[in-house]
Amino acid sequence: MRAYVEFAVKKFQDKMAYRLDFFMGIVNTAITIVVYLCIYKALYGGATEVDGISYRMVATSFVITLGLSNAFHFNEMFLEHKIHDGSITNEFLKPVSFLFRMLAENIGEGVFKLVFHFLPALLFTLLHTKLCPPKSAPGLIAMFISVAFGYLILWLISFIIQTWSFWLFSVWGIMTIKNVFVNILAGTLLPLWFMPTALRKIISFTPFESIYFTPVRIYLGELNGSQILSGIAVQVLWIVTLGIIANLFWKRGIKKLVVQGG
């Protein structure tokens, strides 16, 4: 475990070396928040509520989703590069699990972005816009758990596609399409409340709803006690399902690598 923490910390430090990128990251996040709040305001066009959702809830949902999607950002070409240049075989010689190392590095980068890009931008936003406070302390705790699970779901989806580079020349195209799905169906661009009902129904059967929307709803108090539990249960179900699939592809891929030598 200590080794993986080291990987995460190392990545965190690497990130700090880029001074300009660091400050600009904050500005970037702040501008994005301001702009999207303007867009939602214009969409609301002076109405206080649309479908029972207040502008403040939309703003809060957007800010949280943005913060999370900032943190839920990984180098998705990592495995492909490792496989294509053959360096993946070296990784197996190291005494740490390659997968957990990858995850640890991704988390390190994510935490960096959350702490240094998102938090300052959030404070800046609070200066001029009122957001909803957390509904309750247990709700906040439940939200953190749900965030961690949401992260794992998205990470597993990305990882599954990354493992396809054992067979495909490039997974860039598929990854791009996946990101379109995430951006739309997970509600990064438009909160899921405003989706057409039929589409909303379909989304509820996919893992996408569990990534950002479940934590957001828990935070806003849209879900009550048992609904929170079932929301988190659905997340766990997806983690298990995706974990099994990921493991399957990973094992097959390794086997192919060993048999055919890449």
């Binding site: 880029y18 001074r19 300009l20 990128d21 600009m24 990251g25 500005v27 970037n28 501008i31 994005t32 301001v34 702009v35 303007c38 867009i39 305001k41 214009a42 969409l43 609301y44 066009g45 649309v50 479908d51 020349f169 490039s170 860039w172 195209g173 598929i174 791009t176 399409i177 990101n179 379109v180 951006n183 739309i184 661009l189 438009l190 405003f194 989706m195 057409p196 589409l199």
Partner: protein, 267 residues
């Protein structure tokens, strides 16, 4: 003369490169198309619910967006080598250009042209144009067509100028990726909406700092005449096609000054 032949040879080489991976190129083009459609889909879904944004309906929004895509389709190939300019410097490819007896920008234009992105953005832009152009009440006559073409060329020059400025910054800073992310990529995303919806500061940036407003908002206003134009000097919709020339010229001067810095530091 001879400049054109250099550029044409660069284009020819870019095409030949792509032809070697035909299937790959096709898949990548499709991926770009789908990726860029995401924002369009989001706007479409949002307007299904909210109907209008600052009185712009969905067709007007698509028309506004189409100009961004159409101009970018040209920019991304013409100035492809400027997108990752810090890499060009770091890998020593810039040294290469310096030891050749030609203008540096000339050697960069159409070099490694990203024809995939051009095809993806171009198709989407055309598609949006075809869907929206007939439904937004524009009377297409000689003047409007001429204006439209001028605006597209102006838009290409404005964005090309921005690429040149961001590349020039690589001579001053090691990492310029995030500056470019904010001022180019984010602002471009924001330019997809009528700028009148934004905070005054952001409007100011979009008009005077990274003048995306002159790429699509003011040209669209010339053709659509929406009410929110009342917030801006009317002259802006007439000068829009010429802003490109000014921006490009200014960017070129900045580039000239900045390249000098490279001579003293190297990479």
């Amino acid at each position: 003369m001879g400049e054109i032949r250099v550029v044409l040879q660069s284009l020819k080489m870019s095409i030949h490169t792509r032809m070697q991976y035909r299937v790959d190129s096709l898949v990548a083009t499709l991926a770009v198309f789908i990726r860029e459609s995401a924002n369009i889909i989001a706007i479409y879904l949002a307007l299904l619910k909210f109907d209008r944004i600052n009185d712009w309906n969905v067709n007007e929004m698509l028309f506004l967006y189409s100009i961004l895509f159409l101009t970018y389709a040209f920019v991304v190939s013409l100035f492809a080598d400027l997108r990752q300019f810090s890499d060009t410097i770091r890998e020593g490819r810039f040294d290469r250009l310096l030891v050749r007896p030609r203008s540096l920008l000339l050697q960069l234009i159409l070099n490694n042209a990203d024809l995939i992105a051009s095809a993806g953005h171009g198709t989407l832009g055309l598609l949006l144009f075809v869907i929206s152009a007939g439904r937004v009440g524009i009377h297409w006559d000689f003047v409007t067509v001429l204006y439209y073409i001028g605006a597209i060329i102006g838009g290409i020059l404005i964005q090309g100028g921005m690429f040149i400025v961001f590349s020039s910054l690589c001579f001053y800073f090691v990492e310029t990726g995030s500056i470019r992310d904010i001022f180019y990529w984010n602002m471009r995303k924001f330019a997809g909406y009528p700028i009148s919806i934004y905070h005054k500061l952001i409007q100011g940036i979009l008009i005077y700092v990274v003048p995306f407003a002159f790429v699509n908002y003011f040209p669209a206003q010339y053709l659509l005449r929406k009410e929110d134009m009342a917030n801006y000097p009317a002259i802006y919709i007439y000068i829009a096609p010429f802003v490109g020339i000014i921006v490009y010229a200014a960017a070129y001067l900045f580039w000239r000054v900045s390249v000098r810095r490279y001579y003293s530091t190297g990479n």
